[in-house]
């Protein structure tokens, strides 16, 4: 089912990209990853601890998964650049989820620094997937900078509130018909994912909604289905909305 989508030179058949944080155990994470159908997962770059406990987190990922390192925890362009370069060196990948946040309480993106970092990273050959606020004009600039996709938030990271501004997403889709739009952050339930896809998002990136569910693997299945449902609905064209009823059964012809 589901048509494929393209990012740089890679074709994905799943439109769901998921995270690797907050799981209660590696087993739960692996089960959720498998159930999600996702083909790419994002991972954070972190200082190695010096207590010798450094287990290899990456060994717990399905080797078929494409790994998308991110720059979470960076508060300015410079740190994001350094983090991206370290990630590239460690994983031998040009792919980077660019995340430059403005403060530690809201984790809301610093669009200005994100754009600055994106411009540099694209020039250095990175495939930059930038997390940013749902701002059309910034989306244009990020695309102009050479990002193969833009990743507007639905709501703050880990908030689970769902798409807070559907108008912004709808406008972004309509004004940037050729752009790849990946909604990143804020999804809480499958209907949130379906809403984003119905509005025309090309894919969804999520973490907490799955990891913090009571049953992550089952929720991952649900998200997988919802993303597909939303995509198919977008392709199929929805019925018109009406305030008033439109009879499904004939109004004439009932017995009298």
């Amino acid at each position: 089912m589901g048509d494929s989508f393209q990012l740089a030179d890679t074709t994905f058949s799943s439109r769901l990209i998921i995270g690797t944080g907050k799981y209660r155990s590696y087993d739960e994470m692996k089960a959720a990853h498998t159930a999600s159908g996702a083909e790419m997962v994002t991972v954070a770059v972190n200082r190695v601890p010096l207590d010798g406990s450094s287990e290899s987190f990456l060994d717990h990922l399905d080797p078929k998964m494409k790994i998308l390192p991110n720059t979470a925890g960076c508060y300015d362009a410079d740190h994001a650049l350094r983090t991206a370069r370290l990630a590239r060196e460690a994983l031998d990948t040009e792919w980077i989820k660019l995340e430059v946040i403005g403060d530690p309480v809201t984790l809301l993106p610093d669009n200005e620094q994100t754009l600055e970092a994106a411009r540099v990273l694209v020039k250095e050959g990175f495939i930059v997937l930038p997390y940013f606020s749902d701002d059309l004009i910034m989306a244009k600039k990020l695309l102009d900078a050479g990002c193969p996709a833009v990743m507007p938030l639905a709501a703050p990271i880990g908030s689970g509130m769902g798409v807070q501004n559907p108008s912004n997403l709808r406008i972004m889709r309509e004004q940037l018909p050729d752009a790849t739009i990946i909604v990143d952050a804020g999804v809480g339930v499958p209907s949130d994912a379906a809403i984003a896809m119905e509005l025309g998002a090309d894919a969804i990136l999520m973490n907490t909604a799955i990891a913090e569910s009571r049953d992550p693997a089952q929720m991952a299945t649900a998200m997988n289905l919802a993303v597909q449902a939303g995509r198919l609905a977008y392709l199929s064209g929805r019925m018109p909305k009406r305030l008033y009823a439109s009879a499904s059964s004939p109004i004439e012809g009932a017995i009298k």
Binding site: G19, S56, T208
Partner: protein, 67 residues
Amino acid sequence: MVSFQFNGEVREVPEKTDLTRMIELFTLPPKRVAIEVNGEVVRRAQWSFVFVNPQDKIEVVHFVGGG
């Protein structure tokens, strides 16, 4: 001994310690980590040629769960 900053903390290694040796001394996993010395990534192929100098700021990163 050479005193330097390792991931934000002061550490010491013997003089003439290169990065490969530093990883061993600290019993860090050599795979899928990356090293930055004073703000510049040092490619793995160069590890044996780069020595830890006093006051160096060295960052060594690996990957952890994230979203």
